[in-house]
Amino acid sequence: MAKTKTESATAVADPACVPEWTDILRQMILIRRFEEATEREFRRGKIGGYLHVYIGQEAVASGIITAIRKDDIVFSGYRDHAHALALGADPSRVMAELFGKSTGLSKGKGGSMHLFDVEHGFYGGYGIVGGHVTLATGAAYALRYQGTDRVALCYFGDGAMNIGSFHEAMNMAGLWGHEGMCPIIYIIENNGYAMGTSVERHSALTDLSARVLAYDIPSEKVDGQDVFAVRGVADRVVRQVRETGKPYCIEAMTYRFSGHGAADILQPYRTKDEVEEHRHRDPIIILRNRLGEMCGLSDDDVKNFDESAQAEVARALKFAEESPPPEPDDLYRDVVAE
């Protein structure tokens, strides 16, 4: 793994060497190893359909989801494994869902793009790019309507910002925010590409966080590879949104190291050099180096974390493999309430 200089100048998180940071590192390693395993299992034919992995973007999920409360809620797009795992979904049940098994989070009905774990605050997992942003906005209204101080997170990629309903949602969020009725944090996972179309080619204004200002939603950019920076912004923004009921937008500048999906092998829209350059800013290495410098985290510690993540993933794979597929009768269940 390449030696990388950490860049956390903007970090405002508590730099104390609290165990929480090693927990975040362990979570990010688990997500990485989990995603690597899904890519292998896709190639082996154990996982069908589409498979979009989060490798390279881990700090964006972990840095913000670790900053919310257990009763807060999260919506995501189709690149959703990391959000479920960061919220505490059982990796075995996530893997079982990808394997199309009855023990999966969504009983094998949703697959990779439709992970749901309502018990842990995860409200999905959606496959129409940007289509879920309206849902998350309404959910945020409901949280306030019910008199709670819970907040909603809504993750989406840079490509999602061009669908019409996205802008309808932003405008309504801005309006509801005036009444303190929209406690939501929109998180742009700006990995530079809408599938294979670069930001420069898909957005007339490439400053994406500036686009939401038109709806009176304040926003800021953060280095999405540096979890210290992400978490620092998240702590402040979550507190603010919880207090005010007004929406906020965080644009996390990140990069996906894998293709758009498991079938994106040639990647004609970017060069190997470009990918290699970004791999030098691996969010996991940035965090471990930082913890090494600040808190004396050793290579052995990291090795232990990695072994424990690999063991967890192995358990997940075994569980998924051994679980039964859905019953034929399940075909007709959950279409409408019974």
Partner: protein, 329 residues
């Protein structure tokens, strides 16, 4: 029982449910301050306040999608589409999200959402404001689609919709808003989905219809009885999804002849599904092919005479009944 208009029956249903359950709210374009294009929501903003009566921007996808999210969190939103024609702007939120989220989440969420509004022709609103959407929405699993034909059903079915756990497309007939009828006063009066009824008994021919065409069919039936001595049994489907065709099958077993009447276009319309099902169920009992009376297969024109030509009327229903009786000319 009270004599109420279809419009008032809808408003009463919403207000009674808002009184009953604080989780019920309504959102739509110009429903609050303006009090609604068709005045269905008159007085509601004043009574319930802006948190429960939400004037939205002109953003159908925004209001339908946010309502899905509200419903997933336990609220019971009613979305008023100024006309159902505008609801297709929100097709992604309705068809890809509202109708699917229970299934692909493995049953982890309810989506108690009502999307309601007027549809159909009759008041010279031309091509973009006069369409009918029952077969469009009826095609998709994961939702209920209803089309009441009377004030009592409008009230009772809207209450069932609001109290339910799934998305409901509630199709009102703009041309019926002024129609009056007996409506039960009981605040817990509801009409279950998926239960068709016999609206008029008869022995010679079965007519299957719903919404405004049910009223056209009943008028035609009275004329046939008076002028020709033909007794038509009229079935009111009430619900489009799920279809309850058992009363129609039973009726056709008796009459052996069937006409299906719909306002929408013939190709791939609700009548095609209904006629096919009756042909499957009653094949050996039919004395004539199932006849369909439908709107003309053109965008709705503005000019009054052309609009009348494009929309089914009693004479066509009467002709179809005579045709299945081989009694024409």
């Amino acid at each position: 029982m009270a004599d109420k208009s279809y419009r008032d029956a809808i408003r009463d249903a919403m207000m009674e449910e808002m009184d009953r359950d604080p989780n019920v709210l309504i959102m739509g374009e110009d429903i609050g301050v303006y009090e609604g294009t068709f005045r269905i929501t008159a007085g509601m903003l004043k009574k319930y306040g802006p948190k429960r009566v939400l004037d939205t921007p002109i953003a159908e996808a925004g209001m339908a999608g946010t309502a899905v999210g509200m419903a997933m969190l336990g609220l019971r939103p009613i979305v008023e589409m100024m006309t159902m024609n505008f609801s297709i702007v929100a097709a992604d939120q309705i068809l890809n999200h509202a109708a699917k989220v229970r299934y692909f989440s493995g049953g982890q969420v309810d989506v108690p959402l009502v999307i309601r509004g007027p549809q159909g022709a009759g008041v010279q609103l031309s091509a973009q404001h006069s369409q009918s959407f029952e077969s469009f929405y009826g095609h998709f699993p994961g939702m209920y689609v209803v089309a009441p034909a009377t004030p009592a059903d409008a009230k009772g079915m809207l209450k069932t919709a609001i109290r339910g756990r799934d998305p409901v497309i509630f199709l009102e007939s703009a041309a019926l808003y002024g129609m009056k009828g007996e409506v039960p006063d009981d605040p817990d009066f509801t009409v279950p989905f998926g239960q068709a009824r016999v609206a008029r008994e008869g022995s010679d021919v079965t007519i299957v219809s719903y919404s405004r065409m049910l009223q056209v069919s009943l008028t035609a039936a009275e004329r046939l009885s008076k002028n020709e001595g033909i007794e038509v049994e009229v079935i009111d489907l009430r619900t489009i999804r799920p279809l309850d065709l058992e009363p129609a099958y039973a009726s056709v077993s008796k009459t052996h002849r069937c006409v299906v009447v719909q306002e929408q276009w013939k190709p791939f319309g609700a009548a095609a599904e209904i006629a096919a099902s009756i042909s499957e169920s009653n094949f050996d009992e039919l004395d004539a092919p199932v006849e369909r009376v439908t709107g003309e297969d053109v965008p709705m024109p503005y000019a009054r005479n052309l609009e009348l030509l494009a929309t089914p009327h009693e004479e066509q229903v009467i002709a179809a009944v005579k045709k299945v009786m081989y009694a024409n000319g």
